[in-house]
């Protein structure tokens, strides 16, 4: 009995120390977001004179820091990121569910099609972005939110489809077959019978697509370099430029950008690994 107590104490303590040490860089950024200008570059994890000034500037007033540059308030970029991420997430989770259902029940396209979708997840985006710049210019969607919503599925669709394949597996076939006999078409069976039963999986897939859209940097850097459609990830580069680093506001912006995705990732924690490994690890 005694040995178990000691083991519990030693192992728990070790694990928690590892965990805290591991998260120190992020904890330091949170601390810095509350530091006044005099403490910015210090290693302390607790601000001596905590302040909300950084958040106030990032969220509401914007800021001007002499030669180090100026930055506008975050609102419009937050809005851009929200619109693009929500639209992408809705579109790709629904398209992903439809495709997943056709693959799972009807073997649509055979294993080739499923493999092809899987391999899209592995493509280095930088390699095909120049043609996509040309494409969006041709369609008049360069530098618009619409252009980003058009291109983001390249990143999110493989994840949502493969996740939905796993989620739809647990929907029983029998009700579908009964509905088919009653004369429903494949499409009617899908949206009247399958989708309601897989709503939890669909919500999780939507969150996955949201996480990936929110974090996307390279695509908007090249497809939406202007102010009109610039999302948060590209905006964040404002705080670190050739004149130096705006420590406090940068840290505050980093925290603001990270909090929504950390929360969402925690909400789908149970499925996160399954989604990221395309269903290989359950």
């Amino acid at each position: 009995m005694k040995k178990t107590h000691i083991l519990t104490l030693v192992i728990s303590l070790a694990c928690w120390l590892v965990c805290i040490a591991y998260l120190t860089p992020f904890l330091w950024m949170i601390a810095t977001s509350f530091k006044p200008i005099g403490e910015w570059a210090t290693p302390e994890l607790i601000p001596k004179e905590p302040t909300f000034k950084n958040y106030y500037e990032v969220l509401i007033t914007g800021g001007i820091y002499g030669v180090r540059g100026h930055f506008p308030p975050i609102g419009r970029y937050l809005m851009n990121s929200l619109i693009v991420s929500i639209c992408t997430s809705l579109i790709t989770s629904i398209l992903g569910a439809m495709t997943a259902y056709a693959i799972l029940r009807y073997r649509a396209g055979g294993s080739m099609f499923a493999n092809w979708i899987l391999s899209l997840r592995m493509i280095p985006a930088v390699a095909i972005l120049y043609p996509l710049v040309v494409l969006t210019r041709t369609l008049g969607l360069y530098n618009t939110l619409g252009g980003l919503i058009l291109v983001y599925p390249l990143v999110t669709f493989p994840i949502t489809t493969w996740f939905m394949i796993g989620a739809l597996k647990s929907v029983p076939k029998e009700t579908e077959e009964a509905a088919m006999l009653d004369g429903c078409s494949e499409w009617q069976v899908f949206y009247k019978i399958v989708l309601p039963q897989a709503s939890g999986g669909l919500a999780t897939a939507a969150i996955f697509a949201f996480l990936f859209s929110w974090a996307e940097f390279l695509i908007p850097l090249l497809l939406a370099p202007g102010e009109a459609a610039m999302p948060l990830t590209v905006f964040a580069a404002y705080f670190s430029n050739q004149y130096g680093i705006l420590w406090g506001p940068l840290a505050a912006a980093g925290v603001i950008i990270s909090i929504p995705v950390i929360t969402l990732a925690a909400a789908i924690q149970k499925y996160l690994i399954r989604g990221l490994t395309m269903g290989f690890v359950r």
């Binding site: 083991l7 192992i11 694990c15 590892v18 965990c19 591991y22 998260l23 860089p25 992020f26 330091w28 950024m29 570059a41 290693p43 398209l95 439809m98 495709t99 259902y101 009807y106 073997r107 649509a108 396209g109 499923a114 493999n115 979708i117 391999s119 899209l120 592995m122 493509i123 280095p124 985006a125 930088v126 390699a127 095909i128 972005l129 120049y130 043609p131 996509l132 494409l135 058009l150 390249l154 394949i165 974090a215 940097f217 964040a236 705080f239 670190s240 680093i245 420590w247 940068l250 980093g254 995705v261 925690a266 924690q269 996160l272 690994i273 990221l276 490994t277 290989f280 690890v281 359950r282």
Partner: protein
Amino acid sequence: MRRGVLALILPALTLLLLLTIYPTIYLYMMMFQSFNPLIDFAPKFTGLDNFVTFANDPEAWYAIGIMFLLTTITVPVAVGLGILLAIIFTSRYLQGKILIRSLMLIPMSIPAVIVGLNWKMIFFTYGPLNAFLQSIGLPPQPWLSAPLGDPFKVIFVLAILDIWQWTPFVMLAVASGIESVPSDIREAASLDGASGWSVLRHITLPMAKTVIMVIALLRLIDSLRIFDIIYMLTFGGPGNITTTLPFYIYKVGFTLTAAKANIGYAALLSVILLAMAITLVLMTLMRLFKVERIIWG
């Protein structure tokens, strides 16, 4: 195929074909042309000139080499460290297992750009890390230009970021691999007198082997795409020391700041990068990742 089924996949298929076939054709046509928007009015056909340029471009070969160097540092370290953490974090003596795992999700949920900016502050010459080093009596380092006197070591600084962000992913995946080994197998072995270590070595880890392989391959393929942290931390510098192939494509084809800046040449480099990624996927991952069994099995 039945019409109803076709209707289910048609919207997605149209969108994906537009987003992949068009770029592919464009790249194949562009790689035989020369076009630098800063100099030329229009692209002109130059045959195999870009291939000759590539063969004689030490920067491109360096970029490929440095991309694989970064991979050979990050993947083994992240996988090894991840397995180690998975072993201690699945211990039945650990209190607060669920909470600790949610906390370990944080690095991989943060957008890579923010990870890059976060560590850029930490590694800044007059930043917290050097201040900390000085306070314990160690010399400060110019981390982002030449740590320990050798600019080449900046690669390791970049590797640290990627390892920091993705080790928890390996840890969580391997942990679920370990936990999928039925506990009665493990218990039976320990009743037979096997020590905890040999149960781990001879039963648990071999059974989690495929999971570990797939995770390592996913990391390998993902690490060919590292871009955001290079953009934020070093912008390919100092000089071109951290210019990996994806970043070189960015400099040649987008910012047009490389000596060989040319959209046709960037197209050729893109085709090369795509070929490498696809070869890796087909030769390694697809062997383990049995689509037939995962979907319809």
